[in-house]
Amino acid sequence: MTVGIVGYGGYVPKYRITPDNIGKVWGVDGTARGKGLGIQMKSIPSPDEDVITIAVTAARKAMKGCDVCPDDIGAIYVGSESHPYAVKPSATIVSEAIGAAPDLTAADFEFACKAGTAAIQTCMGLVTSDMVKYGMAIGADTSQGAPGDPLEYSASAGGAAFLIGKDNLIAEINHTVSYTTDTPDFWRREGQMYPKHAGRFTGEPAYFKHINACSHKLFQAMGTKPDDYQHAIFHQPNGKFPLRIGKSMGFGPDQMKYGLLTPIIGNTYSGAVPLGLTNVLDHAAPGDRIFVMAYGSGAGSDGFDITVKDSIDDYRTGDWCSLDCSNQDLIYLDYANYAKFRGKIKMGGV
């Protein structure tokens, strides 16, 4: 059963802070810390931006490039670990804001950094079973990092949306696999402002183990090897992990250059792999094959094998614009303004 991407859009807020500015506040060599993480800067949401505004912006871009009536969208899922409401769905607001409500199902997903790809898988299932004509899957975050924590150098904001369907595909999803275990490498308890992580435990038994296992499942299922793909996208909590695991499997820097955005926007959590995929689709040629491997703490990996269709050239014309447009005219903030924007300054009774 053919299923794939009909439209896509990405959005990253235009505010940035560099590791040097963060390090100065905490008595740390921020430049060295940034180099160690492979991060040159990270995005910051404006005070009037949250997961819902990012999701709506990305979803509208996804709809702009394709000739699909919003009424034909039968499902909308928003994956994030920073939904503005604990109870009240982000997805209902997105549904209204793109004109898809009321005849659809909608829900919010949470699986650390892979909630967006879980949403894609769910939409694939609904579309292939003919329960819906189109499904919208979104991964977005305004991720949290406690002041002074190593996460503060990477936790950023952004998101991407994918319209999943069977007709007028710009990229076909050939297959998807997952690998899931109970691994407590990173978590945030109910009501807590910032997440906790298990330090080095987040590496080998978590990120690397799950991505390795899921990747081998995908290679085995498709009968492929790294050389068969023009592009590879790995979850990117920093700029180093994806390059390390990609290299260990046999992927080269050229295959990973478009899918790795963390060095210039930081770790957008649920938005990370989806945004990497939008940037690859922005640059891919018809016929290109894409290897996608998401990871979410807690823990699990979702893998996708995707082939770009000829129609992508028509999709990327006119005033269409995916990710590049949201990365122009950047505004750099110092730590004081960053803290103000992120609500880290408590205002008492104001």
């Binding site: 235009k14 505010y15 404006s46 005070p47 009037d48 931006e49 949250d50 819902i52 505004t53 709506v56 912006t57 509208r60 503005p84 409401y85 607001i93 209204e96 804001a97 004109g99 614009c321 447009c325 122009q328 505004i331 103000k340 924007f341 609500g343 205002m347 104001v350």
Partner: protein, 133 residues
């Protein structure tokens, strides 16, 4: 009851949905049920219309002593914008540095948080504007 009042206006705030008079073709935003020019002639002829969100700055001001709800955004820019379809509306222009906006600057709408009813209350969303990329 702020929740219900904002909820009733969600369609126009989220999607810039206005009304067009079928008798004289004038577009109204926010939407009106009756055309003040055609009056009874417009009854039953007011059609919903989704505005493009594109327009031009007619006038603007930089707010340095803002409302408490906007204290994190000071200084911020408020402008009167003439939309492509004709209506002139007041809106905040975001993601700009002070001095960046001029009369005649082309803008387009974006979806942003308008405010919230305290830390525990409902969040209101709607249109603001950015300079046209």
């Amino acid at each position: 009851m702020e929740v219900a009042r904002f909820w009733r206006e969600n369609q126009s705030r989220y999607n810039m949905q206005g009304k067009k008079c079928g008798a004289c073709d004038i577009v109204y935003f926010p939407p009106r049920d009756l055309c003040p020019k055609c009056r009874r002639e417009s009854i039953g002829k007011m059609e919903k219309i989704k505005l493009s969100g594109k327009g031009v700055v007619i006038s603007y001001t930089e707010v340095h002593d803002g409302l408490p709800a906007f204290s994190m955004q000071v200084p911020y820019t408020m402008a009167i914008i003439e939309l492509e379809e004709g209506p002139r509306i007041t809106g905040q222009i975001v993601d700009v540095e002070p001095g960046e906006i001029k009369i005649g600057t082309e803008v387009e709408s974006v979806f942003r948080k308008l405010g919230q009813e305290g830390e525990c209350g409902v969040i209101h969303y709607g249109y603001k504007f950015i300079p046209k990329p």
